[in-house]
Symmetry: C2
Amino acid sequence: MSFTTNKTIAMFGGKLLKLTHTAKSTSCDMNVNLYLPPQASSKKVPVLFWLSGLTCTPDNCTEKGFLQHAAAKKGIAIVYPDTSPRGLNIPGEDDAYDFGSAAGFFIDATQEPWNKGYNMYTYVTKELPEALWSSFKELDSSKVSLTGFSMGGHGALTLFLRNPTAYVSCSAFAPISNPSACQWGQKAFSGYFGEANKSKWAEHDATELVKKHRGPLELLIDVGTGDGFYKEGQLLPENFLAAAKESGNDKGVQLRFQPEYGHDHFFVASFADEHVEWHAKRLGVYDNADKQKL
Amino acid sequence: MSFTTNKTIAMFGGKLLKLTHTAKSTSCDMNVNLYLPPQASSKKVPVLFWLSGLTCTPDNCTEKGFLQHAAAKKGIAIVYPDTSPRGLNIPGEDDAYDFGSAAGFFIDATQEPWNKGYNMYTYVTKELPEALWSSFKELDSSKVSLTGFSMGGHGALTLFLRNPTAYVSCSAFAPISNPSACQWGQKAFSGYFGEANKSKWAEHDATELVKKHRGPLELLIDVGTGDGFYKEGQLLPENFLAAAKESGNDKGVQLRFQPEYGHDHFFVASFADEHVEWHAKRLGVYDNADKQKL
């Protein structure tokens, strides 16, 4: 389906499009922001998907994450999808910040009534990119990378590990790294998959997925040591790293603990340049300054 | 008076302090954000005051303006004051977005009842800096610059032109440049000064002030051509530039029209690096890369 452009905003020499389209997988209209860097006016550009955290709309990181700063320099488009379907009128969908609206967890729900539209996995991996490639010829569908924050970091890691050939690179900020073992993930997976359906849980748990990964694996993961959710055991990046080590998949995994940073967009903004530049290298995008350094 | 630190947030290698203090000039507790760059942990750093626009608290530009990105590199602290007193219980203070709360216009009101606390001129030029110098020894009180957006751009220009020796440099984003001649300014000045008190109006109108300026004058002013408030005549930067020309004060005034940019923090963020770097040069802050270029 084609997109309605609600607003076009100049930013860092490029433009930010606030879009809406009707999505089949989520059974509702979905908002999505698309940042097109200045380079997109004259050539196809690679695409970085940003997956947001609990409570977020497409706007939070668009306004506060600062990814556009480096994306404009490197010539990378950024897609900011929403975090769940909206307005399906499922009883209870708006009752909690960590389940239902704005808490889609990038899975396809199997449990009634959530399976009616809580299919953010299919939406983000298939329906949204296909719609974008069809409507925006300036996007290079062969060069797509993933990053995200918190629940969106879980999304980035799991979508990448489940589809290793679909994406060029993956990074994450404070990801929920082992959802089966933390309260947020247990609540979400119980609700969307059913409490007993542990094999389904494992299919969307980065720590389980990395154990079975075959082939080279590179990941850049930042976690703040002042992150309250890290401290209370919602993120568990150590579990992910241990699983990667056990399966021999840890060689290219950079897990960096950033002193004192919290669980907020100030943290994201502070390392946004580095993440975008890390993806840029893997997407084959080098600016003149980089070439001189190489 | 000393400050209460409500929150300390790691950002771009430095820290953001969310502060509150009791202010005499505004007759209330005032919130203010202070960004300390990493360099402040070992030496005194220059200070850039950011003055915000209508409807803003200290948080809007702190979260969306990204001045901290270049400030962290250059070693400059940023102060984000509020835009008015809050909660004085003056009838009507919360009724309009462009008068009263969050619309203090950086003047000292002379009209009852606003003169009870709508004294943002004294607060920003005297009480707040004195309180900061007394509490934060890492701030270099001899190197202070000003910038701001919209109503805050008006604040930056007028505070600088009224106190040319107090500040090292001044820049502005989409400033209300001739408030006596636009609806926003006329409403504010009528309310705070009285409709007939035109000499007082002129004391806080950048276009009037620049006519009387003596000595060198350098200003960097950006305005977006897609700015709806510019188009409807609320900003009038051409009036300011014409007045500067008439009085021979235009040589160092850079008024740049930025194609398609709007009246928003996306515009501010897009040129934040340039403004901070422009101030850095005038504040005598050069990093190693700059030195090589000079």
